[in-house]
């Protein structure tokens, strides 16, 4: 009887993992922000099957696991294969100076968040402004985040280099809360790549959150490559705010991991902005990938494009839930949402929920969602011209994904993704 009373709730048990982290390095206002998030957590619960926002994704198996705070160093070598001048590497949420390298560029700050917290005013002003206060995983990150990247492009700066950020889950049962911040001042431009990798087999959990502030006339392209081990759990929150006439593009490329959940929230705070949200998911095994996007058109004359494609093989599950919200003032909005899925086996499943919520009349909003399989006729056409079955399938799948690959604005990354596609589907049944 006594045992029952001392048993901890699922949530407390999960949160107890973070009790050991030393946050004494945080000063004001970061210390207070943490405290606020921690207070909010006491009234929150993990999503259940009844939670609409998590309808198709069960987090039970994720939160039930035992975790440990991972090592801050790698025990084995890992080939990062990053051809760039600027790369910050984080291991289980901690900055690894040893593995990182940077070449300073004038007008750009690129450093670990922990370092930027020591007196960087733009960071202090904006930190934790965009994170979703009502979402439990975001709040956990706000309360217990370790380190991450701070990127700041100053006014009018056009970054020459491509900026890489690599998060590595190392060691079995590793848990981490990486936290990133990107600030683009007026008229600046940059391209960034965020990669999630695993350095070992076995499960791990990464709960990351990135805030992007894209200033007036600024242009930011973000490429996210999710390529962890097949047992890894990843929840990724990307929160973006766009000012007038800015451009923001985000490509999310999900390649491996047991459970991936991407929450992408964009707030259009100025008029004449343009936004691209792209997602490419190549699923295999028992993978479960869930993309949730929400874009708030708060000002007139903004354009947004959304293109998500999934190929679900084996017993995998792909989820897409996109929402376009057009506020009454946002006249002349032009929003397009497209979701195309290909299901390759009977064990695989795809759930799609493209939503529109529109309160302005002079708008053009549309969405399309298709789910199907390879076009038999196209396949026959290729075969009748002497192309083998495997090759013909590869050609068609390649064509299906090509428009997304073209969206990647960094050439060597585009080649890298193309190589993954070629390898993955050259041997398709």
């Amino acid at each position: 009887m006594l045992e029952a009373t001392v048993e901890m709730s699922q949530k407390d048990k999960f949160l107890s993992h973070f009790g050991m982290i030393d946050f004494s390095f945080d000063k004001s206002p970061f210390k207070e922000k943490r405290k606020e998030a921690e207070d909010r957590l006491s009234n929150m619960e993990f999503p259940t099957s009844k939670t609409e926002y998590w309808k198709y994704t069960r987090v039970n198996k994720l939160i039930r696991q035992e975790y440990i705070l991972g090592e801050q160093e790698l025990s084995s070598e890992i080939d990062l294969g990053v051809p760039t001048e600027n790369c910050l590497v984080f291991i289980n949420g901690y900055y690894s100076e040893e593995l990182s390298w940077t070449k300073s560029e004038e007008g750009i700050d690129f450093m670990p968040l922990s370092k930027a917290k020591e007196g960087n005013q733009p960071l202090a002003d904006r930190f934790d402004q965009l994170s979703k206060k009502e979402e439990i995983f975001s709040t956990i990150n706000s309360a217990y985040h370790q380190d991450g990247v701070f990127f700041h492009a100053k006014k009018g700066k056009l970054a020459e280099s491509v900026y890489y950020v690599i998060n590595i889950s190392a060691g079995e049962k590793a848990i981490s809360n990486p936290r990133n911040m990107v600030i683009m001042d007026e008229g600046s431009s940059a391209k960034m790549i965020f990669k999630n990798l695993s350095a070992s087999e076995g499960y791990s959990f990464t709960n990351q959150l990135t805030e992007y502030f894209v200033g007036r006339n600024a242009n930011l392209e973000v490429n996210k490559i999710e390529s962890e081990s097949d047992e890894a759990f990843l929840i990724s929150n990307d929160e973006c705010q766009q000012d007038e006439s800015s451009q923001f593009k985000i490509n999310t490329i999900s390649l491996s991991g047991a459970l991936l959940r991407n929450n992408l929230n964009i707030d259009l705070n100025g008029s004449h902005t343009e936004t691209w949200m792209n997602g490419l998911s190549l699923l295999h095994g028992k993978q479960h990938v869930d993309h949730h996007t929400l874009i708030h058109h708060r000002e007139p004359d903004c354009v947004s494009h959304e293109l998500y494609k999934t190929i679900a093989d084996d017993a995998s599950t792909g989820v897409f839930n996109g929402k376009v919200y057009v506020h009454p003032i946002a006249q002349k909005t032009n929003a397009y949402q497209s979701n195309a899925n290909m299901v390759l086996t009977d064990e695989a499943a795809v759930y799609s929920k493209p939503e529109l919520e529109i309160y302005a009349d002079d708008v053009k909003c549309s969405h399309g969602s298709t789910t199907g399989q390879l076009d038999e006729e196209a396949l026959f056409y290729l075969r009748s011209r002497g192309i083998g079955q495997k090759k013909a399938i590869a050609v068609l799948l390649n064509a299906f994904l090509s428009d997304l690959v073209e969206h990647i604005g960094v050439e060597h990354l585009r080649e890298e993704v193309q190589a993954v596609i070629d390898e993955k589907y050259s041997g398709v049944k």
Partner: protein, 480 residues
């Protein structure tokens, strides 16, 4: 408001033609819902034991449920203990001529092209001449009887064909399905029942008959349509004429059952009182409609929704049999302060099943119009096909149009397509029409009608004409 109520009193349908009710003038159950009330209703209707048990079981289920809040609707929740769940319709004051009827209503009737005879009947004006409809009704009944078609009120069916009712009641919409279905299952008062025997093709639109037969069925209506193997029926419920009803809450349940190779075409036009221009009053319409398709059968839903303050309605099909087909065509118009959350559910269970959803929403004034749909393809429903199109038209900058589709696919041989658009009427289209001498209002009517054509074409002919006019009336004054 008082005058409004008087008006309602005057113009609501007065005739009550079902024979089973006699001497019930004083019957009105006390407010509130309890086991006693359910027993009272059941006893009043002289129902068999099994039906009473069904009602009581439903009541238990309902008591354990909470009102759903997921719909994109905002309205004050009805107080379920402050309602009368049974009040026998009483003959109302008869009017002597159409001159006494609200001129606004007459105006609407004329616009809809409803015949004078029918106008009188709808408004409750005493008709001196023995109305044609009585004889028409009998001929219809004879003709249908010859074919073995049963078409009667639900209460009549319970008395005369209990075996059919018992076999099929609640098989498509179980009591535990949702809050309002459970409520309906506990307290439903009447409705219609239709059975088409094997291999019979119903020779007429049951709509025609229905119109003549129409009577006040109360706020908790229950409809059960069964098409036995190889049969066909086209059924129309509702009316284009404005229905002003004093009951604020309507929670109906409609169950369709299409057995092997049968086809049911169900059309409905709903034009309940939408509330005043300021959004006061109006009817809450919370309806559960669902069809079950066995092998090679087909169910087609067509709806034109222009009335009610709040609509909550998702006609759906369970495509259980192989090669069955489900269709849903809908036009939903909301203006002033109306709100609608409507759409369709298509559950593909059998192999080679097909479904089509065409939904057209029009939102004007300060109204909100949402499409909410589910297309689910089960793992074993191989080679299934769905096509969904939902378009929204916005008129004015204070209204909203929303789309919430759920698409779930569990196998690799099915194809599902969904597309949705939201926009306003193109200025170039209006310009084109005006340039050819039409005024703006006519131009908009023309464009709106063209926009809804795909759905209106599915309606039985005479109703399609009325529905077109109804759209015009519903959108009157909402432009400019």
């Amino acid at each position: 408001m008082a005058s409004e109520e008087e008006l309602l009193e005057e113009i609501t349908n007065s005739e009550y033609k079902y024979g089973f009710v006699t001497n019930i003038e004083s019957d009105k159950a006390p407010k509130g819902l309890s086991e006693d009330i359910v027993r009272f209703i059941s006893a009043k209707k002289n129902e068999p034991e099994w039906l009473l048990e069904y009602r009581l079981k439903s009541l238990k289920i309902w008591q354990g449920m909470i009102e759903p809040e997921w719909a994109h609707l905002q309205y004050p929740k009805p107080d379920f203990q402050d309602l009368h769940y049974y009040s026998a319709p009483k003959p109302k004051k008869k009017l002597d001529s159409l001159d006494e009827v609200d001129p606004e209503l007459i105006d609407t009737f004329n616009k809809l092209g409803i015949s004078l005879e029918e106008q009188k009947r709808l408004t409750g004006v005493a008709v001196d001449v023995v109305m044609d409809s009585v004889s028409v009704k009998t001929t219809f009944k004879e003709k249908l009887g010859e074919l073995g078609i049963i078409f009667c009120s639900f209460s009549e069916a319970v008395q005369e064909h209990p075996e059919l009712v018992k076999k099929y009641l609640g098989t498509v919409v179980p009591s535990a399905d949702n809050f309002y279905a459970a409520l309906n299952s506990a307290v439903f008062t009447d409705g219609s029942f239709c059975y088409i025997p094997k291999g019979v093709r119903c020779p007429m639109e049951l709509s025609t008959y229905f119109r003549i037969n129409e009577a006040k069925t109360g706020q908790f209506e229950r409809t059960l349509v069964i098409a036995d193997e190889d049969s066909y029926v086209s059924y129309l419920e509702g009316c284009t004429a404005p229905m002003r009803d004093e009951n604020q809450l309507h929670a109906a349940v409609v169950e369709l059952i299409a057995l092997d190779r049968a086809e049911i075409k169900y059309s409905t036009i709903q034009n309940w009182y939408p509330g005043s221009k300021e959004g006061k009053g109006g009817i809450y319409n919370f309806v559960t409609k669902r069809g079950l398709c066995m092998e090679d059968s087909k169910i087609s839903w067509t709806q034109v929704e222009t009335g009610s303050a709040v609509t909550w309605k998702y006609p759906g099909c369970i495509l259980k049999g192989d090669r069955s087909v489900g269709e849903f065509y809908s036009v939903a118009v909301t203006s002033n302060h109306q709100q609608a959350d409507t759409g369709s559910k298509m559950l593909h269970i059998g192999k080679n099943t097909k479904s089509t959803i065409i939904s057209k929403g029009i939102s004007a004034g300060q109204a909100n119009n949402s499409y909410r749909g589910l297309v689910k393809i089960n793992k074993h429903a191989t080679n299934s096909r769905n096509f969904t199109q939902c378009d929204s038209l916005l008129m004015g900058n204070k209204c909203g149009a929303h789309t919430f589709p759920y698409i779930e696919i569990d196998n690799s041989s099915s194809k599902v397509e969904h597309e949705a658009t939201t926009s306003k009427i193109g200025e170039d289209q209006i310009f084109y029409c005006k340039q050819r001498g039409m005024d703006e209002e006519t131009a908009i009517n023309l464009i709106v009608n063209g926009y809804c054509k795909e759905v209106l074409n599915q309606l039985p002919m005479e109703f399609a004409v009325e529905a077109q006019k109804l759209l015009e009336i519903s959108l009157e004054g909402s432009v400019g």
